[in-house]
């Protein structure tokens, strides 16, 4: 916390930030090239260049229609969606970790993921289309956090932040029970597999129409968080110190929670429940550029986007069958989390 209160001298910090952000951006660009050049359908980087160029100059590219479809309708939207979801989860994770002053917090701490999961399984239970399922997931995530916040603020005893986290845990497990109930009631031949697949997380069906509902909330939420970066730095201080510096912590907390929840819910609605990204990436970003939110948010966004893009590239190209994202992120995330637990105190302070 001392770092947030008294940042390192501006010179070295800025160098660290610029080099860290530059490195992350380079990795992201490399990831995009890699993601475009591998997949189940053979499309090379040259084909990609050709297709983009022909779109720019408005001439036919001479590529097979299937290859064009892969670039513009399938792989392209999927690459963009993976970056957006990864960025969203990392930014939300960074915001919640700062807000709760705890390195082991992830974006679903206030029930956004369980709310979205319940919304989605209800949508599947009632055999809604894709739009309905994703809409319900998005609304479910927002409603769950709103509920947690209302209950948490109604309880006027003890540490407000602690009460909020506890309420989130309680409501989250209640919503988890709701998901279990819907799975129990679901038709075991049709709906139950659909629910299971959704809950494991996947971007396999992403197409262009999914991008706007994802991009809008993620951009809006990230911009709000970025605009609040100085106040969020102060928020990382103990509550009394923050108040003594003249910060209206209650209203600010609402704004941070709302913005972080907006991006989380959009991501979960598009890709299902993907754990670990929002927990791990903010840490990596903090190691590289330090705890200042003005630097942390863009770095976490770019790193999160690159990380989930790599994971999703692996998920879609390793086998004929998709590997669920939730499983891959957990397999990669667990060793990291254990390492984090061992080193948590050192890394945070």
């Amino acid at each position: 916390m001392s770092e947030a209160a008294a940042p390192a001298p501006a010179g070295t910090g800025a160098v660290r930030f610029v080099s860290g952000l530059g490195l992350a951006t380079l990795l992201l660009l490399a990831g995009i090239m890699l993601a475009f050049s591998v997949g189940r359908f053979p499309v090379s980087l040259a084909d990609l260049g050709l297709a983009l160029w022909s779109r720019l100059v408005g001439q036919p590219s001479g590529l097979a229609p299937a290859a064009e479809a892969v670039i513009f309708n399938i792989r392209g939207p999927r690459v963009i969606a993976a970056i957006l979801c990864g960025a969203a989860l990392a930014v939300a994770g960074a915001a919640f970790q700062g807000l709760f002053r705890n390195p082991l917090v992830s974006p679903d701490i206030l029930g956004a993921s369980s709310g979205a999961a319940l919304g989605a399984v209800i949508g599947i239970y009632f055999s809604l289309g894709i739009f309905g399922i994703q809409g319900l997931a998005f609304a479910g995530g927002l409603l769950a956090v709103a509920l947690v916040y209302l209950i948490g603020s109604a309880v006027r005893s003890g540490d407000a932040v602690l009460v909020l986290v506890l309420t989130g845990v309680v409501i989250g497990s209640l919503l988890g029970a709701g998901v279990g109930l819907m799975k129990y009631l679901a038709d075991p031949y049709n709906q139950l597999p659909a629910m299971t697949f959704w809950l494991l997380g996947s971007l396999s069906g992403t197409d262009r129409s999914d991008l706007l509902p994802l991009f809008g909330p993620v951009l809006a939420g990230t911009l709000v968080l970025f605009a609040l970066r100085w106040r969020m730095n102060v928020m990382s201080l103990p509550e009394e110190e923050a108040r003594s510096l003249g910060l209206a912590t209650g209203r600010l907390r609402i704004a941070i929670v709302a913005a972080a929840t907006l991006v989380t819910a959009a991501s979960v609605a598009a890709a299902g429940v993907i754990g670990w990204v929002g927990l791990i990436v903010p840490h990596l970003a903090r190691f590289i550029v330090g705890p200042d939110f003005g630097r942390l948010i863009p770095t976490a966004a770019i790193m999160g986007g690159g990380y989930l893009l790599l994971i999703d590239t692996l998920a879609r190209s390793a086998a004929q069958v998709e590997i669920p994202l939730g499983i891959l992120t957990a397999v990669i995330g667990t060793p990291f989390f254990i390492w984090l637990l061992v080193n948590a105190r050192k890394s945070w302070t």
Partner: protein
């Protein structure tokens, strides 16, 4: 003779209990378990959808209810009195939703389960039978075992003649389809992608129960190289496979795929060979895995090999419904079924 309460009770209980004891029969079910059932059966509890459907086709009057209550569109195709019997939940498979105490109150003569005879299910059957004292018969639910299971089912219920008739019907369909498909050389068999889920990206891998009848009809399942159950694939993978025929059970997917630019270059979409499977009152292709999939063989045959299957599906549907579902649908109802609506 003076009728005392005691002698009445004795006489009545003898009248009720004795025939059962005297005329019980012991049979061996498909899992090799020995099951003792009364010779005259009047109440049968279905453990899951395949058992309920099969029992409805064989002996509807003794069916206690359904794992899930039938909805309006399904009821149109069922006997009105039996179709509306109550929802009982599932007893085995993925999750029990039946309360064993409720099961006891229903006083079934026996519990009928049709499905996997693997050890997990055989032991579940033993356990339920020991707990409740109700005989539990487990029959083989594999597609190829339908005729044999019907015959055993007939013995359990004292309905041998009708069971034999239904078993023969299924055997005839299977034999006809198999011999016609056998004339098609391997390279002329269509490459089929089976699509589930609103995005059409869930599919049945090789050997999965979901595509059992599609593989039986000789189609080449493009996802068949990987063995397993259900899995999700990407559109890219489908483009790489470039299937000639797409068979789906999802109405949303079937309605949208023709205008979806991502799918536009798939051969099956270009050649308008995307087919939505009938599902009324029970699915023709995927689930429930039971006798309801038998007319699906004709349907698959017609769309996979149009020249080999000249029969009129309307006639086949009418006949199957009349014979198995105890109700002759109108022409409009048959059209509704064949369009895959419901």
């Amino acid at each position: 003779m003076k009728l005392t309460r005691r002698s009445f009770a004795f006489g009545a209980s003898a009248a009720i209990a004795m025939p059962h004891v005297a005329r019980a029969q012991t049979l061996t079910d498909s899992a090799g378990r020995s099951v003792t059932v009364p010779a005259r059966v009047s109440r049968v509890f279905p453990a899951g959808p395949p058992a309920a459907i099969t029992h409805y086709t064989l002996q509807p009057r003794t069916l206690l209810g359904w794992p899930r209550a039938n909805r309006g569109p399904e009821l149109v195709y069922l006997d009105p009195e039996v179709g509306t019997r109550p929802e009982l939940g599932r007893l085995t498979g993925r999750g029990n939703t039946t309360n064993l105490e409720v099961l006891l109150q229903l006083k079934p003569d026996f519990i009928l389960d049709i499905g996997s005879t693997a050890r997990t299910f055989a032991e579940t059957a033993d356990r339920v039978q020991a707990q409740t004292g109700i005989p539990y018969a487990l029959l083989d639910g594999r597609f190829g075992a339908i005729p044999e299971s019907y015959r055993l089912h007939g013995q359990l219920t004292g309905e041998q003649a009708r069971a034999e008739e239904l078993a023969r019907y299924c055997e005839d369909v299977v034999r006809t389809c198999r011999s016609r498909v056998a004339t098609v050389p391997q390279e002329r068999r269509p490459r089929v992608y089976y699509a589930r889920g609103p995005r059409g990206l869930d599919t049945g891998l090789g050997g999965s129960i979901n595509i059992e009848t599609i593989e039986f009809m000789g189609a080449v399942n493009v996802a068949g190289q990987t063995r397993g159950g259900l899995a999700t694939v990407s559109v890219e993978q489908v483009l790489t496979w470039d299937p000639e025929v797409i068979i789906t059970i999802d109405q949303d997917f079937a309605a949208n795929v023709r205008s979806d630019p991502s799918w536009a270059s798939v051969k099956a979409v270009r050649e308008r060979r995307v087919h939505l499977s009938p599902k009324m009152p029970f699915g023709w292709v995927d689930f429930p895995p039971s006798v309801n999939r038998v007319p699906g063989l004709w349907w698959l045959g017609k769309l996979l090999y149009p020249n080999l299957f000249p029969e009129d599906l309307n006639t086949i549907t009418r006949e199957f419904h009349t014979r198995f579902y105890h109700r002759t649908p109108t022409d409009a109802q048959i059209a509704f079924v064949l369009e895959g609506r419901g």
